[in-house]
Amino acid sequence: MNAPNRKLRVATTSLAGCFGCHMSFLDIDERILKLVELVEFDRSPITDIKHCGPCDLGLIEGGVCNAENVHVLREFRANCKILVALGACAVNGGLPAQRNHLDLRDILEEVYETEGGLARGSKIPNDPELPLPLDKVHPIHEVVKIDYYLPGCPPPADAIWKFLTDLIAGRTPVMGHGLLHYD
């Protein structure tokens, strides 16, 4: 792979995700040493930087399930030249979107108020610090423009590696048999 003439800046985040895609990303194992020769990380759980600066590449795990997700996603879109939907939830809503055919208030009431085993007087949390949940969970392409998609729950580490090395080398990423998975 030909190295670009400067390190690319990469930001990553997990919205309505489980960090499984980030775990799969770390599953590239020692190849991460090759990767950090080519990229440097901006906002990411890896760096703990809280806000995204100008970046070449943004990787978004998870769909959009609350107001904060929308703000984070828009911050990424405003700062990243290329934005990638990483994993099933970012691509089509995934597991969190399985609540979409249910009424939000009904779910909150069941989980926080009426389900067995709750402390007496339990209420739906209502703290200004908590982001408000959205009525439905949305894939991220329904909120901002997305340049590339890498499905999978999670995408295999080899797929993430192929995707990143293709992109860094200036090629359109192509996932062959065994790397493209929806599950």
Binding site: G93, Y148, P151, L180, H181, Y182, D183
Partner: protein, 243 residues
């Protein structure tokens, strides 16, 4: 004139009465399809098998083969349209592969892989569809139905039971069970029925057989669907009759 036409320049022999699809499959040419099944009369509804026959788009499963036809199949233009058809099917239902027992054996998923469908592209419908768990041996998850009507045809033509039907029109069209209660348990549907095995996606599933074959070792995990062309088996006269 001999019984030969061309697909993407390749000469394809055919027998009179065969469709373009049948001749293509016999010759080992991959044709994406969901509603077509070699044992049933063609339906022409999923449109994935659309080819350009002498320059005009046509469903190859319902187009009779004719000598000298020039057919385009595996072209960028046609595959772009097929990709879009898959994306429309994906957003119309709830296709959540990570929790689906059919994953790895699903034709919709396998065609998505083969055609390189990376995203749903369109806005997800997230429809509210029921699951029928009433039958002791089979379950129905309507979330995944693509309205191919294979179960309807199998139940009516082979099993002679007429268990399934479509109801509603347009966007409201959906698969139903032909029983007063609408429940599968209240029909004479059996696990040995032809209709129990033809679903190309994960609607009709056998209970207590989940993950008998592990993910990663399933039909389309081993080889992509475009390398597993179903050779055409002649339709028996019984299934050719109008029902």
């Amino acid at each position: 004139m001999s019984n030969v036409f061309t697909i993407d320049g390749q000469e394809i022999p055919f027998e009179p009465g065969q469709s373009v699809m049948q001749a293509a499959l016999t010759a080992g040419v991959f044709v994406p399809h969901l509603c077509y099944h070699p044992e049933f009369r063609p339906h022409g509804s999923c449109k994935l098998c659309t080819m350009k026959v002498n320059g005009r788009p046509a469903t190859s499963c319902t187009t009779p083969a004719a000598a000298g036809m020039e057919v385009e199949n595996n072209t960028t233009e046609i595959n772009d349209k097929r990709r879009m058809l898959i994306q429309m099917l994906l957003v119309e239902g709830n296709h959540f592969c990570p929790s689906c027992e059919k994953s790895g054996n699903c034709k919709l998923q396998a065609l998505g892989y083969a055609l390189g469908v990376m995203s749903p592209h369109f806005t997800e419908f997230f429809p509210d569809r029921p699951v029928d768990f009433s039958h002791p041996e089979m379950l129905l998850d309507f979330n995944r139905c693509i309205l191919c009507e294979l179960c309807i045809r199998a139940s009516a033509e082979v099993d002679k039971k007429n268990v399934f039907a479509l109801s509603g029109r347009g966007l409201k069209k959906h698969l139903i069970v032909n029983a007063e209660s609408g429940r599968l348990a209240d029909t004479d549907f059996a696990v040995t029925d032809k209709a129990a095995e033809v679903c190309p996606v994960g609607v009709i599933l056998r209970k207590r057989h989940g993950f008998a074959v592990p993910i990663g070792q399933r039909t389309y995990d081993l080889k992509p669907i475009n390398e597993q062309v179903e050779r055409f088996k002649p339709v028996t006269p019984a299934t050719k009759e109008k029902v």
